[in-house]
Amino acid sequence: GDSWGIFTFLCAALCNLPALPALNCTEELGAGQSIQKTYDLTRYLEHQLRTLAGTYLNYLGPPFNEPDFNPPRLARAERVPSATVDLDLWRGLTDNARLAANYRAYSRLLCYLRALDGQAGTAELRHRLGHFCSSLQGLVLSIASVMSSLGYPLPAGPAAPPAPPGTTVAPNDFLKKMDDFWLLKELQTWLWRSAKDFNRLKKKVPPAVVTLRLEARGF
């Protein structure tokens, strides 16, 4: 069976997020409050991930669940978007670029996580993964709503398969587990980074819309 072909198809289908309609409710909230909401979501997800990762790594077994496990980064793991960035570059990101980087990263990460879900061993694990994926989808949508309320275009979704076929299928069980390990690591790091990204956005995008509306109501 062409397992890689099936994987690619599934991923493309799952990752094809619909274009967001201009939701009245988010416009009323204003960019400032949406950013706060998104920030809160990243904190919630980071907290959730700790439990999920612990369970999943235990499922993978040693050495993946050992706290000192520090494997070298193999080239194949580069397909998962990395949060790592040069400090000055990160500081200098425009609001649009900052939001877009987050949006792209979580869209891809969500995609990979969903693929994980399909293969996970225990029912408990599938349940946790499923719940986490829903929350993560919520984060992606939240970022998208912030972007649209600020007038930024949404980056194109990962329509193409995440990597050229033939080079990324894990040739054995151990390497597949390594891929899973790095996926969770990148996800965790992105959630730490996003908290800082949204902190910066909070400061730079004052809730001007909210202020105006208060004035209109005679405050």
Partner: protein, 306 residues
């Protein structure tokens, strides 16, 4: 210089002199008793720290100096204690170390920092001496840092390794300039204010949250308040008239651990000036005005206990 372990047996030869030559050994200028000699060799059994010093060997009759050495008694190093911390995130981090027990002889330290495949340079601080710092080249890294400290001296070596993620070692310095003041006309309030630690480089992008604890000196239990915003807080449930001790700690909003507690400040809430003495004096004045002689107030002080 000759280094020897505590508890070891030391044999010193008098340079090129034969075993059966007549020599005199001195330790820091004092002659050593012949019982410690085996021919012309000096035997020191189970040396201790007090036996460190200058040993000299003189030819018997001519009193020519034939050999001289400094003996330093010490121990090989035990496993060093290493700590790494980022109090200036996102600029970088520092590592500091020390030995759990002294070796009594000179030690040299070598520190290596490996990040993935890259070896990074940890710049040694001038002061304090056992400390070095590193600048982050990249932020939000998924790869752990591996820091190895090796301590070496003439009697041996030892080392320890720390492996950590960028986020886990973030720990700010305590808040600075903590000030607590009473609030006029409010007997249960205390106004506390503080500043971000000056070592934290970018509180705008990396905001800190704070933890305040306070208690009256007479009680042991602390009250706690966590504050996610701002560098001031008003305590509204202080016990009237009681002196309070107050401390503040800081933490990055999202990552790392809490700082140590700040220096403690003391403050007592505002209390009303006692009024009853003034009222009695007023009554005394009005009564004395009518009798034209001053009448002392009812409470008399017994000054002469004769």
């Amino acid at each position: 210089i000759q280094y020897e372990r505590v508890g070891a047996d030391v044999t010193m030869k008098c340079g090129s002199m034969d075993w059966d030559a007549t020599v005199t050994w001195t330790a820091n200028g004092t002659d050593i008793d012949e019982s410690h000699l085996n021919g012309s060799y000096l035997i020191l059994k189970k040396v201790d720290l007090t036996q460190s010093g200058q040993y000299s060997c003189y030819e018997g009759s001519s009193w020519h100096l034939k050999y001289q050495t400094y003996l330093r008694v010490g121990t090989p190093p035990k496993e060093p204690l290493l700590m790494c911390r980022s109090n200036n995130y996102p600029k970088g981090f520092y590592c500091s170390w020390h030995l759990p027990t002294p070796t009594y002889i000179p030690n040299s330290f070598n520190i290596s920092v490996i990040h993935g495949t890259k070896e990074m340079v940890c710049e040694k601080d001038v002061f304090p001496k056992n400390r070095c710092h590193i600048r982050y080249l990249q932020l939000f890294s998924t790869v752990k840092y591996k820091v190895t400290l090796t301590v070496t001296n003439a009697l041996g070596k030892n080392s320890t390794t720390l492996t950590f993620d960028e986020f886990t070692i973030v720990k700010p310095d305590p808040p600075e300039n903590v000030v607590a003041k009473p609030v006029p006309n409010n007997p249960r309030r205390l106004e506390v204010s503080w500043q971000n630690p000056s070592s934290w480089p970018d509180p705008e992008s990396f905001p800190l949250k704070f933890f305040l604890r306070y208690r009256p000196l007479i009680l042991d239990q602390w009250q706690h308040v966590e504050l996610s915003d701002g560098t001031s807080h008003t305590i509204t449930d202080a016990y009237a008239g009681k002196e309070y001790i107050i401390q503040v700690a800081a933490k990055d909003n999202d990552i790392g651990t809490w700082s140590d507690w700040s220096v403690a400040v003391h403050a007592t809430p505002w209390t009303e000036e006692p009024k009853h003495l003034t009222t009695e004096a007023q009554i005394a004045e009005t009564t004395s005005a009518s009798t034209s002689s001053f009448m002392p107030p009812p409470t008399t002080k017994i000054c002469d206990k004769g």
